[in-house]
């Protein structure tokens, strides 16, 4: 039975990014339904019942997060949309923003209604120039038609959405660093507690949701929780945009229900390995921060719980595929350099540890390794994990820990070499 695209139902239609195009495809019906048939509290319950889990990387139940807001209204509430998509291997939010912004916007409005917030901020990474222009246009069109502004669709609900551009910092995808950046500061993650739902933007209760998460809210608004919960697997419900890149024939975004087998994604959607003579060596299922799976462990289902059971994580579903031409040490060096570059530098273990890891890996790559290096890498990762202000510590510790565990022999071989590695982590 062919899978009916939900999140990607419009992206191939010309003019999909326009309001006209969106309306012609039946858009904003979900919003109408929610405003007419649900109180805010009831829609929060609906999203809880649908089982929607955040699509930004943490997989936290969205309805539950909305429920953390305090009851009082002395302070205004804010909704921040995390469009800072920067996790290596991930490019799904870009697709929605550029090709179906109203699918996202509709979800934003429904979510804002549910959490009784009247000002939303769309925080988009600075490098998404086209996405920025497209989404600003979508907001303008929506305002002109009464989907934003005062008394939306006659419901009495007001909402304004402001687009705010990031300026090149992966860490601003962490929700509290996003808030700091939105407040005009360096993107330093905050100490939690207090959590943003209690003390967030400008000290006010704030919900931060990912772009894809809010597109899913639109689906729930359209067809309800029971229908939504029927897609995917128990506790891992709904459709998902899976990204595949690296050594595959057809890198791209593939929509499927949560729980699709990774090998099906790889072989049927992405066309299998790029080079017939170079089979799969390893894959990172959920963006570079997640633990690597050697080929022998890649027979997994792509959902939050299955991957957690397999010792890794779905994360942002940014799958990166590596074939046998790849030097794993070189790949880890590449990833470590990313984290060293993106570390905000606030806390000791991450600031100092990421640089140290790069230096050791660089020596291993160029044939200047020492016998203690491999254990040292694992030990440094261990001393970072759990001791940092934000999950960036885990984001560097998990790759180091898992690459070394899964490919220890390769690391030890490098440690014993006296010449640079000739295998490239490249074409």
């Amino acid at each position: 039975m062919a899978y009916e695209p939900l999140l990607t139902r419009n992206i191939h239609k010309p003019g999909s990014e326009t309001l006209e195009g969106y309306l012609a495809s039946g858009g904003y019906q979900g919003l109408r339904r929610v405003l007419k048939e649900f109180t805010p509290e009831k829609f929060v319950e609906e999203v809880k019942a649908a089982g929607l889990r955040g699509r930004g990387g943490a997989g936290f139940p969205t309805g539950m997060k909305w429920g953390f807001l305090p009851k009082g209204k002395e302070k205004p509430r804010y909704l921040c949309i995390n469009a800072d998509e920067s996790e290596p291997g991930t490019f799904k939010d870009r697709l929605l923003i550029e090709k179906d912004p109203h699918l996202v916007l509709e979800g934003i409005i429904a979510a804002a209604y549910a959490i009784e917030c009247h000002q939303a901020f769309f925080y988009i990474r600075g490098e998404f120039h086209q996405g920025y222009r497209t989404f600003e246009k979508a907001i303008a069109e929506a305002r002109a038609r009464g989907f934003l502004g005062k008394n939306i669709l006659g419901s009495g609900f007001d909402l304004e959405v402001l687009v705010y551009r990031g300026a090149g910092a992966y860490i601003c995808g962490e929700e509290t660093a996003l808030l700091e950046s939105l407040e005009g500061k360096r993107g330093y993650p905050r100490i939690k507690p207090p959590f943003p739902a209690i003390v967030g933007l400008y000290g006010c209760p704030t919900i931060i949701n990912n772009v894809e998460t809010l597109a899913n809210v639109t689906l729930i608004a359209e067809r309800g929780a029971a229908w939504y919960a029927g897609i995917g697997r128990p506790k891992n419900t709904g459709p998902k945009l899976f990204c595949l890149s690296g050594h595959v024939k057809r890198p791209g975004i593939f929509e499927a229900p949560l729980g699709i087998p990774f090998l099906e994604l790889l072989n049927e959607h992405a066309g299998g390995m790029a080079h017939p003579s170079r089979p799969l060596k390893a894959a990172v299922p959920g963006g570079s921060s997640m633990k690597i799976l050697p080929a022998s462990k890649c027979d997994v289902l792509m959902d939050f719980d299955s991957l957690a059971a397999a010792g890794t994580s779905l994360g942002s579903a940014g799958g990166i595929v590596m074939d046998t031409s790849v030097c794993i040490v070189g790949a880890l060096l590449n990833v470590a350099r990313f984290y060293a570059h993106e570390s905000c530098g606030q806390c000791t273990p991450c600031r100092e540890g990421t640089g140290w890891l790069v230096k050791i890996l660089a020596r291993l790559e160029r044939g200047d390794g020492r016998p203690e290096d491999v254990d040292r890498l694992a030990d440094i990762a261990f001393r970072i994990e759990g001791n940092t202000v934000c999950p960036f510590g885990e984001a560097i510790a998990w790759p180091v820990d898992s690459y070394v565990k899964a490919f220890r022999a390769e690391f030890e071989d490098h440690a014993g070499r006296r010449q640079a590695c000739t295998m490239r982590a490249g074409a």
Binding site: G168, G184, R186, Y202, C243, G246, H247, C344, A425
Partner: protein, 157 residues
């Protein structure tokens, strides 16, 4: 004291101050406005925008230095940004970068003396299905191999 930006930009920055619940938020958009007009963010601009928003110049400078997209020195007219992160590296980004450096006659992080080009390796641009991926100013290109790179360059010039 003369403004480091046009009066029109100065007015747009004034508008920004009123747009956010707290005016500190105006900093990043204001920096973008300054950079759009002048190409980069100079120390004089930092002092100017600090004064506008009520921040210290040290604070503003700290913010500018945190974000990679704010240029503290004038970039080339064409700022070539080539992604170096794993998905692009797996599909030949290193070779592309080496080729670009040679073709443009600049090292990673440098601006050519004639001011036409600057080259920077950047981290994941979120277009890994079109690896190797690059941007020139705000225009996107991917997948790019050395031959495609030369083509694109020809069209710039």
């Amino acid at each position: 004291m003369s403004l480091p930006v046009r009066p029109e930009t100065d007015r747009r920055i004034d508008d920004l101050l009123a747009r956010f619940p707290q005016k500190g938020s105006a900093l990043l958009p204001a920096l973008y406005m300054i950079q759009e007009e002048t190409g980069w963010v100079s120390e004089a601009s930092m002092e100017y925008v600090a004064g506008k928003i009520g921040l210290s110049p040290a604070f503003v400078s700290g913010v500018v230095s945190f974000y990679t997209m704010f240029h503290r020195r004038p970039p080339g007219r064409h700022h070539v940004q080539i992604c170096r992160t794993l998905p692009c590296a797996l599909r030949g980004a290193d070779a592309l970068m080496a080729h670009a450096a040679k073709r443009l006659g600049v090292k990673d992080g440098q601006t050519r003396p004639d001011g036409a080009y600057s080259l920077a390796s950047v981290e994941c641009l979120g277009a890994c299905d079109r690896a190797p991926f690059m941007q020139i100013n705000d225009r996107e290109f991917g997948p790019v191999d050395p031959a495609a790179f030369d083509d694109i360059l020809k069209r710039q010039e």
